[in-house]
């Protein structure tokens, strides 16, 4: 993995435990409503589209495009020394726009509309973060 970005461990709740267990195994899950089929983000056991409490997990394709991004030049905490890095919204092929980092390329090479694919970054604490890398063209 080319990224030197810190990978803070997530804090799973009963509602998100399955999601974070899957990222540790290299899979990106999405919650989908059993009633209206809406793909839900952020993951929750409730459908904000139709108010259903019946939600299941599906596996995401891992493909997306950059919806927006920023190159962070001043940061804090564990990220203070990691600048410059890219924080972005990636629009997944399934619809949701998810906050994440773009890694694996020069920050100046990131652009809106860029095709990206999910990668998983080990937190060192038995969990992993979903980040995205440009798809080689």
């Amino acid at each position: 993995m080319p990224s030197q970005l810190p990978a803070p461990a997530p804090e799973p709740t009963p509602e998100t435990e399955a999601f974070w267990s899957a990222t540790a195994e290299g899979r990106l899950l999405l919650a989908r409503c059993d009633e209206c089929d809406a793909v839900i983000w952020y993951p929750r056991a409730f459908c904000p589209a139709c108010a259903s409490l019946s939600v299941s997990w599906i596996e995401a394709s891992g493909n997306g495009t950059v919806y927006s991004f920023t190159i962070v030049h001043r940061s804090m905490g564990r990220f203070r020394e990691a600048v410059p890095y890219v924080l972005a919204y990636v629009e997944l092929a399934e619809g949701p726009r998810v906050m994440t980092n773009i890694i694996g390329c020069d920050p100046d090479a990131v652009y809106i509309g860029q095709a990206v694919r999910v990668v998983f970054c080990d937190t060192g604490e038995g969990s992993a973060l979903y980040r995205f890398e440009p798809v080689a063209t």
Binding site: P6, E11, T16, S68, T70, I71, V72, L87, M99
Partner: protein, 386 residues
């Protein structure tokens, strides 16, 4: 029920200092409370309703006790920087409903001195999907909005900078402003990049301080010596990520602007002065569009040609210097937005920036982030005395 003309702002006060290392937060609340009550010609014993945000302590419980109040109505609605614009509307509604007569709203915070307390930070169900990407304060997510706005509409960094330039032209007349030196577009663009495309000078100041506002019934207002300002309309909303289909090129002002103006019976062309929340320059650009002062996407063009510059621009804004130059106490600018609008309607803004014959003013608050989720609130105020 409408609140139109059923409540009046009788007193306002902005704490004169921008660095207050020798006071507790509660002390600053007390100072601004007395300041606004004195401005209104009232005293603490007249107060029967109290409003504050979540950083004041245990909701309003702490400050009600500290100040020795015995209210029959309290409200600590927390929507970040928009909180106190929300509170003005809630106070007016409570007065119109007959629940109280004299509402005191106080804001205080000491973030510049490193003593920021409590607040709504983190802990929400969304936080475990946003906290690990290196978000370096609010600037990071506002930068996402700015980048997308540039992509969709061709907005430029120089256009964003015009917002700061206009604020600085106003702040030079405010001897209490944190930044009092006029700045050029070139200087804004030369300031350090914090989170692209936002430079340091696209960001508001971090200041200690506070402010207060007294909202009263028409009966109370009529007996007061000072000119009061009538509340014509108000609206609030929360705009959020909408199940991951987030739209970061528009704000909750798209909802609250039309609602508040409809209640007031005015349109954007009737607004003589506007206090527009200016946490960042992009906040102003998007809000101007959403309030209907220009078409969506045209905010960057609207701010050119001195349109925001008082007294003679098309839409004079933030004549105190705003959050970008004057003051952003407690990281919450809604209170100072209301205060400057009241000054304009009373004809008490600095003569160099006083809008001639200012009859209708708008104050808009944005709290949280337009790049994630935010509270949005608009209030329309009129010059009409009680």
């Amino acid at each position: 029920m409408t609140i139109k003309k059923r409540a009046f702002i009788a007193g306002v006060y902005e704490h004169p200092r921008r660095e207050i290392s020798d006071r507790s937060i509660a002390q600053v609340h007390a100072e601004v409370a007395l300041g606004a009550l004195a401005d209104a010609g009232l005293s603490l014993s007249d107060v029967d309703a109290y409003f504050c945000d979540s950083t004041a302590g245990f909701g309003p419980l702490s400050m009600v006790e500290y100040l020795g109040l015995h209210p029959r109505h309290v409200d600590s609605t927390e929507t970040g920087g928009s909180s106190y614009v929300v509170h003005v509307g809630h106070a007016a509604a409570a007065i119109a409903a007959g629940q109280c007569q004299v509402a005191l709203l106080t804001l205080a915070g000491l973030p510049r001195s490193g003593r920021m307390r409590g607040g709504p930070a983190g802990g929400g169900p969304e936080s475990s999907f946003e906290a690990m990407w290196g978000m370096a304060g609010a600037v990071t997510s506002y930068a996402l909005a700015a980048q997308r706005h540039m992509f969709e509409f061709g907005t430029t960094s120089a256009q964003l900078a015009e917002v700061k330039v206009a604020a600085s032209l106003h702040a030079q007349h405010n001897p209490r402003a944190f930044l009092q030196t006029p700045i050029t577009v070139e200087e804004v663009l030369a300031s350090p990049m914090i989170s692209s495309p936002l430079h340091r000078d696209d960001c508001c100041v971090v200041t200690d301080g506070g402010g207060a506002c007294v909202v009263v019934s028409p009966e109370v207002a009529r007996d007061l010596p000072r000119r009061s300002v009538t509340i014509l309309g108000h609206a609030e909303t929360v705009k959020h990520a909408d199940n991951g289909r987030i739209d970061i090129v528009s704000t909750g002002a798209r909802t609250t602007g039309p609602l508040a103006m409809a209640e007031a019976g005015v349109s954007p062309g009737d607004i003589d002065y506007a206090s527009i929340y200016d946490s960042f320059t992009i906040t102003v650009i998007e809000t101007l569009e959403d309030l209907g002062f220009c078409e969506k996407g045209q905010g960057g063009r609207f701010v050119l040609d001195g349109n925001l510059v008082a007294p003679h621009g098309k839409l004079p804004f933030n004549t105190d210097g705003g959050g970008l130059c004057n003051n952003h106490p407690s990281n919450r600018g809604g209170m100072t937005k209301v205060i400057e609008a009241v000054r304009q309607l009373r004809g008490e803004a600095h003569p160099a920036v006083q809008v001639p014959d200012c009859e209708i003013a708008l104050a808009h608050g944005t709290g949280g982030s337009i790049g994630t989720r935010h509270g949005s609130s608009t209030v329309i105020l009129g010059r009409e005395d009680a």
